[in-house]
């Protein structure tokens, strides 16, 4: 086959690119009209902004203590200097919540990245090769999905010991089968699509079709899933921290851990339990709303 021939085929096969552009433009248009998407995106942006600019936004260091302000069981509540009050070691609660966003965001992104890249690689292998590779990957995914995700994450994190890295790996691994299945499913349906069949019939190699066309066109559900997985990752990380499976350094302001700590002061200082709870709800809600809106926007069935 001549080189120019291949190029010619490329140009004649520009249709899926256009479709993708169309889909994207369409999706953005839909998103801009959806209140769900706007609220979700706003919350996510707020969360990311707070996480990224934490050192500039936080009025104090999250670990700076002022023990002289604290007596057993009574911590100064909200005031002009400390908007959310002080915690049990005389640290500024607002600054801890703000820095806590960093840990949530980092844990969320790293774990979803682990889950998505490994999962996609496996899904790609399964979808591209089929046959025994496909069976192997899919049966492996079935087995992992047979364990409820939180339980699997708890098991892995317990196995790896107390650290933030363990939490990231645990949540990441739990996400692998989800992404593997998703990408494989999407690729199978794309592989049967007209343009893929057309390319094959024109003699383009299988690998090339997969990499250049099938794979990119299968990404939409992956993006949706990644956004939703971020929401779950934040809740699960908080749950693991709540069970004592986070960083061994207790001064690190993880929201889940802060919430678990305040159990001791629940009756006298319920506000200290409220702030990290609210922070978790807001960030989870943001990613969830955005993910759902993306799903609706990218769903070809809804395209009219």
């Amino acid at each position: 086959m001549s080189l120019s021939g291949a190029e010619a085929q490329e140009t004649t096969l520009s249709q899926p690119e256009e479709a993708r552009g169309g889909l994207l433009r369409d999706a953005v248009r839909r998103l801009r009209r959806s209140p769900q998407a706007i609220v979700g995106a706003t919350l996510v942006l707020l969360f990311v902004f707070v996480a990224v600019f934490a050192p500039w936004l936080a009025p104090y260091s999250p670990t700076a203590q002022d023990l002289s302000q604290v007596r057993p069981g009574s911590f100064p509540g909200p005031s002009a200097e400390h908007l959310l009050g002080l915690d049990q070691l005389g640290r500024d609660e607002l600054s801890r919540i703000i820095y806590g966003a960093r840990y949530s965001l980092i844990i969320g992104i790293v774990s979803v990245t682990i889950g998505a890249t490994v999962g996609m690689a496996l899904g790609l292998l399964a979808g591209a090769f089929g046959g025994w590779v496909d069976s192997l990957v899919m049966r492996g995914a079935d087995i992992m999905l047979a364990v409820p995700s939180l339980l699997l994450a708890i098991g892995i994190a317990a196995l790896l010991g107390r650290s933030i890295i363990s939490v990231m790996i645990a949540i990441g691994v739990v996400n692998i089968p989800v992404f593997a299945r998703l990408l494989r499913g999407a690729m199978l349906s794309q592989r049967e699509s007209d343009y893929a069949l057309a390319s094959r019939s024109l003699g383009v190699t299988k690998g090339r079709v997969v990499l250049k066309h099938v794979f990119p066109n299968s990404l939409a559900p992956v993006i949706v899933q990644a956004t939703l997985a971020l929401a779950t990752a934040i809740t699960e990380a908080a749950g693991l921290a709540f069970l004592g499976l986070g960083s061994p350094d207790p001064s690190i302001p993880e929201w889940g851990r802060m919430l678990a700590e305040t159990n001791a002061y629940l009756a006298s200082e319920p506000l200290l339990a409220l702030w990290p709870g609210l922070a978790i709800v807001i960030s989870v809600l943001g990613f969830y709303l955005l993910g759902e809106a993306l799903r609706e926007a990218l769903d070809p069935k809804l395209r009219r």
Partner: protein, 335 residues
Amino acid sequence: MLRFAARRVLLLVPILIGLSILVFLFVRALPGGPETALLGENATPERVAQVRELYGLDRPVYEQYVSYVQSVLSLDFGTSITTRQPVAEEIARRFPGTVELTVTAMLIAVTVGVPLGFIAARRYGSWVDNLSTAGSLLGIAIPVFALGYLLKYVFALKLGWFPTQGREDSLMFRNEHPTGFYVLDGIVTGNPEAAVDALRHLILPALALATIPLAFITRITRASVLEVAGEDYVRTAEAKGMTRPVITRRHILRNAMLPIVTVVGLQTGLLLSGAVLTETVFAFDGIGRFLAQAVFARDFPVIQAGILFLAVIFVLVNLLVDLSYGLLDPRVRTR
């Protein structure tokens, strides 16, 4: 139907084998190996040698796996490091509590979620609809343990309507527990006060646990009722002049059932793992709390057995869901 069921059950075999391998490898993946898992990190060399001998850790891995499967099949999960009791007994003793909690939570989720989702769909865009949508979003976003604290603070500590923790009042120590399901035990032994007491201990943890399935059930009910209501046969029925209740009963509810049953089944399985957090918040003596304590104390025989046990239950619940499809929808059977 029988053939469908048989095929579905056969499909279970590789999953169960895979699970057993996963859980078997789990402890062997520990840095320091299973010796560390069984003895903790500072064991003496003699102790390590003893355990290696006892568990046959010097033999080839596949032989170890075979003997692991044999012991699991004979319900021998080893001894808990913290309680020093056989793990199988510990799990068996706590399982009824978790089942009681899960079933109560699911009952709340279904009895509230299905009508709510239905009303929301039939009054699409109304305030009920908006409220239920917002509520189910919140239900999904709020972590179970945060909600648990909130419920405990308001209904147990401030209002004092419910006990804060546990499965029954300590003063009822003369209650008998022939089944291990405390509410049922109260009824069976003719002790209505004990049944009511056990029920009161169930309400708050069940409510906390019910939020996520409640949210999903409400959403899926609303979505499927909306979809079915738009189908041709419903429009035909309407055109034929059938009354609304009849349409609802004959067409909408029946056809919307399938996705609802799916979600109920899937969520029931997930509740078992959600119980880890809820039972911890309410010091409810079930498998979840036992597992959480084991994680805290690095009690690996319990973690290993607990995960295997809950995963098997999860798989079996999903099997039941699949089988019930076959009953609800004849098309599934023939595929």
